[in-house]
Symmetry: C7
Subunit: 284 residues, 7 copies
């Protein structure tokens, strides 16, 4: 043991016990070889882990698993190379720490400035990994609603109903509301005159509902007449709800509205005009 | 004593009194063995503590206790391995502190960026541990209301009434409003013409309330007529309240409304049309 | 003196003047014994201090004093054990500071993340110690109003009127509005036609107030007719106020309203229908 | 000189030139004696300073000066004892700095958490010292209005008009609006029909004002008729203002309103009913 | 040179080359003498600078210059004494830095807590130096409007129109709106029936404006009729503007309004009653 | 090896083994030469990378690639020169780190102050690189809407419809809404009397839509009649939508509105006047 | 070489190899001479750079270039003197770093407090350099609109339309809206009865537009009739737009309004009175 170390010393160490130039170069080369190996191994490990998970059906598609794998590998790569360069620089007595400390004032500014960039990527990573939404989903983020057109690590692009394109940095995304993760509710509020017979009105509405149910295949549940949901000054409010496939709820609502109007016309049910009682001069 | 230490020194220490390569490796191995043991012991301790608590009925289900146990164990594991690796690296004179200090600018950015991730997990941990809500509960978080569909360490998924899925990072959760932690109130405001006899109206309403009480088994308390809660320009407002089982309060309200309308029709109680007194030209 | 120290040295110090293994172990044991003693003494001191205060009637109940005492003792305990462990680790040359510094990036993130947890506990501590509210009080915190159901170090649970349970982290509590710390005001605004004689109306209202005063024992002061508080286009607003026991103010208001309506019907005082002057074609 | 120091050395210093145990204890005792003396002197100084100021009438009461003196003295005391303990601990080679540094992660969290506590006390101190409000004053802080019931270093308690008690942490207090620091304005807006003669109306109002002035001793200035402050579609707005003693402005307003109504009835001044011009079928 | 230094050394330095007690005391005395001199010189310099500026008419009054001078001198004084004390303490081996570092946790809290106090003073200093407002000015700060009653380094006191006193910490002051820094605008919007002849109405208004101009000496410019500023459903809006001396704009507006009403009555210009076209049953 | 190093030592090192003046100067010159070379190489690399990407059509224009290349090169340049100067200063024993540390207080202030400047540039860089918007696009940023007139690294200038120029610092830009990234929706809501036959109305509207489709070439899809989207008290709401080229959607909407009005006039479809039912004295 | 250095050493270095008093003074003098030279050179460089840019017409006036030059030179000056003083103090073993570190608690507070001052100046610098607005421009900053009266490094003074002076710290300025950077839009919305013939109305409006175009020289483009922009219940909305020189858009709007009213009177176009259909008792 002692011998090997002695030999090592005689070649790579200067007389003061420090490494000499050759030793330093060798050390750096060894470090970079180790880094290369770690990267290779990490790549294998990441790939294997993701594939295992994929089998357990957490990730819905190969594409997502591949994207994640590449991102993780890139991060590992950059960090390791960065560490390698720092070690190399320090070997040649360029005190990187001191340089960066000196640059500290700017550093704080940059650190804070870059902060939202980092937050963009972290949030983006979780959105992809947790499958919060995919391209084509109808989502609402803060006040921006529309169909997802592009889903990146830094920004999400959402196409609004009126054609505008919202470009949303992922760091500003907090609560995501996704309308493509299950059946949607169609809701129609009907208002009739307070003088109508409630039971009759509800029966007519229920018949209308049955008509629609049989004819519209987008409806997955209902429509159902809930009952008296409002008791106003000159009107009775009745609510009808149904479940429909995503993105079809509005056309279902339109159909219910049209059918109700037609039925009411047939059955002569009056809608509630605003009413006012006028008091003449003598009464006041 | 001295002898043992002397022997120890001769094998594992270099001539300068430092540990030699063999000594270092041994030290690292010893450290990792100790870490392994601590993890094992921690697992036992966590499990036992949770089981004790479970007996005292704080945790409503085995499932919750197990989840918590696994989370705590994972955290202990990661922290101990991390410490082990740092010690190992330092033994081989790779100054990790300096590397990380050099990476400080990025570090600040990452630290701030990752901050909300940590907050997600801490908040999520407390929500689970304190049983603030469970899957299926009707909750309101900020302005997002609906039924809890999934309750994770990082996000909570809430299904809105209209079918939308709100994906809420736990770090944004402050006040949680849970509607499944007891009986809910059903409240109906009735408005009658100012010309009606209040005592008679209240008596009619009380009779309607008794009818409903006997027929609806979701009602746990009431309904009760509170009295005159509003004295408007042409109307008297009277309020009816009841207690109902969670998620049934709306159907109870609908039934009260319908029953009141029917009773009023029978008893010929008038609802308050808006009234206006008209002054002719001469009076003005 | 010298001798004792010399003896001490020969047993517990190695040849370089440092403590040897035995000395280190002894030192650690001594430290932990001292810690144990400090904890015992602290417990006594805390208990005594709180009992003194209790005598001076600052704390309304034994229960509160005990709670506080246990919290303080726990904090003292955790801090002292923590210090003991650090000292012990340092004795065996495991440089804890360096490990934690290396973990600094994560540390900042955790520090910021845990910040609101600490704030929860500090705020909770003050709420309990200052007796800001107790279980059963009607409070309003931010926009969340209801009866306090549970008051913990981390969260406060408030039951809303409509049955919902608000779970409020103490750190989000700023201004607390407590409605159980004294008599509450009942306030009824009455509006009469501008053609009425004000003095007569006020006299009638004052008589109604006297009726209520004698019959309702929840009223602690008043009701009093304040006078003309609004001079509208076709109405005169008059305000009646009373003081009532906490949580009874609404029923007092309802009673005043009912009594005023009955009196007005008897005395034939008209309420202000909206009035409009109509100008015919010629006048315009 | 040399001799004294030599003697000193031989007793209190160990052979390596450091202080021995005896020396250390002595040093600590001396430090604490000095601390005691400084506290005594500080107490005297604070008292004297405040008494000087009191003479110059800055502090309205002895009570305030005493409160301030005690607070300042307590702060001085805690800081000095804290410093003393640190020095003592360091003498016995318990490296407090390192312990606290190790506890740094928690420290940041605690520091941030305790931050609002410190801000509470600083703000509270200034409120008392600057006499921003006293117990009994009517104040508005943020949206919380009422009479100050208690004024502490950490919280201010404000009793709202409706009986609720607002408990406001001083750190959340920014702008304070105090209604007891001078005469308050009473303001009544009167609206008459656009067909009236303005000069006549103003004369009547001025006469009403003079009546009130002579009869109400709470009024310190006015009431004055300002003139035409609004020119609406069917009404002329005229404003009356007066200055009244604090907390009496509302009763003054009520009296002005009542008197104006009576005068208008006597003089047959019409109030402005809403007017609408109706256009028949032919005109449209 | 060498000799003098040698002599110096023999008296004030101990055998190890450090300063002895005498030397230390001397050093401290010298430092405090230097500090005294610097303060004196600073006082002179500040005074001279301000006096120079005063000549160039930047500071409107001697009082302001004196206030500023005293503030600056106080700051210089406190800083220098603080430095002096630190140096003195360090001479006697009381490591202040370490004490304060140990107190760091509290320090962060205090630093953050005191932050708004420092901001108060910095903002206050600029408000005074830049003459943003003086006592008596009518200002609006955030939503708090009124006359400045007191202008201090830490708070500004503003007396609202209704007699309330707003106590505003300077740190919360951002945009200041000052209404005493030039002539103010008086603006009256007149609305006439859509059936009137615009040219005639404008001519009448211009004549009214000329009347007012000649009689009111507070008006510095105008009043001018701007023209048709609104074209409503049954009315034409015309706007009149004038410039008036600060605080007189409201009385000017009231006078314009009164004069316009009188002129319109003389010339029989109709104001716009709301008009509605009624459609009978057949037309609908 | 030894020899060369020896020679080197004899010329450039002082007797204490440090570099002498000559050695220092030489070292600095060498460093700056290396910096020059790195800058040159970086320029080549950046240029090549961007050109590669340009081929793969990520960057739509040469101009953008050139802009980016120049920015990156400038950043590399400034950083390298900065490092060079620091190294040079340190060679001459001017401890830059200490100077800057001393200037730390100001440094923190400057760091925080400059923070938004850095954020401006980072955000600006991403806007350009990701092609979020170009000059001439119609965008909405926060509440500021208009056409982009200038797109810089620090600010974006947006010309509002009414001619105002919004100068927006890039750091305040979060979500960007771009209206030039695809076809825009034109939407017209039509309201007809509730007495009309819905099927007939829809048929008429569909015919009007077909007319417009054939005549207007800006329309890319539709217009389509969606159906009954509102069921009011006296009106039926029907919605028409179309897709149009960017910036033409408003003229398309205006054309649809005009055409619908003309068709309705021809077919005698009545629009919904507000209707009120009047109840005479006896009914009430 | 060696000789010169030897001579140097003998005069300016003490026996321990440090600089002696003479050497220190000399060093300080040399440093300040170098500083003086750097300032001079910087002044020249700044001046030259700005003059070059001025030629390339980036800076619209000599005045701006001079202002910028002086600001930059002042900053360079203060920084260099500050560095000089620090170096001088350190020479005499007054450890400035330690003093300032000790003052760190206050330092943090001051740093944060002064932060907005620094931000004021940085923002002010960019506003001037980028020519965002000049004195006399009509701007809107946040909610404060008016004409710029003064543009300083720390505050901007804006004179509102009603004569108030807004004093805005530059640090609070984010988006600046400037109304003097191009032609402004004049926009008039005209509403006619739904019974009118649209084509005829549009023709009349277009003729009115042509009249105005020829007579008003402030108009740079239009006025143009856009078409039917609103289809209400009893009215058709038509919009007219024009481009006018800055600050003349309101007078242009007023002229368009007046001309339209006159034309409509001539052509007997009716404006839309609100219409209501009345349903008698039998119909309901």
């Amino acid at each position: 043991m002692e011998d090997v170390l002695g030999l090592f010393d005689s070649i790579f160490k200067s007389e003061y016990g420090d490494l000499n130039l050759l030793g330093k170069l060798l050390k750096i080369i060894v470090i970079f070889i180790i880094i290369k190996i770690i990267i290779k191994v990490s790549g294998k490990l990441i790939d294997k882990t993701l594939r295992n998970k994929r089998i357990s059906h957490i990730y819905s598609s190969d594409r997502r698993a591949n994207t994640l794998g590449q991102i993780l590998l890139k991060i590992v790569k950059y960090i390791l190379y960065f560490i390698g360069i720092i070690i190399a620089l320090e070997e040649f007595e360029i005190n990187t720490a001191s340089i960066l400390a000196t640059a500290g004032i700017g550093g704080i500014a940059i650190g804070f400035g870059a902060q939202s960039l980092v937050k963009d990527i972290i949030t983006g990573f979780f959105i992809i990994m947790e499958d919060q939404y995919s391209v084509g989903d109808l989502v609402r983020i803060d006040n921006f609603e529309g169909f997802v057109e592009e889903l990146g690590l830094r920004v999400t692009k959402v196409r609004a109903f009126n054609g505008e394109l919202h470009i949303i940095p992922n760091s500003t995304i907090q609560v995501v509301t996704n309308s493509n993760k299950g059946d949607m509710r169609a809701l129609v509020k009907v208002s009739v005159s307070i003088d109508e017979d409630i039971d009759k009105v509800i029966k007519i509405l229920e018949m209308a509902c049955m008509d629609i149910k049989s004819s519209n295949e987008n409806i997955t549940d209902g429509p159902t007449v809930l009952g008296v949901t409002d008791l106003g000054e000159y009107n009775i409010g009745i609510t009808i709800v149904a479940k429909a496939k995503p993105d079809t709820q509005w056309s279902v609502e339109r159909e219910i509205r049209k059918k109700v109007k037609e039925r009411f016309d047939q059955e002569n049910i009056k809608l509630p005009y605003p009413k006012t009682a006028i008091l003449g001069g003598n009464e006041v």
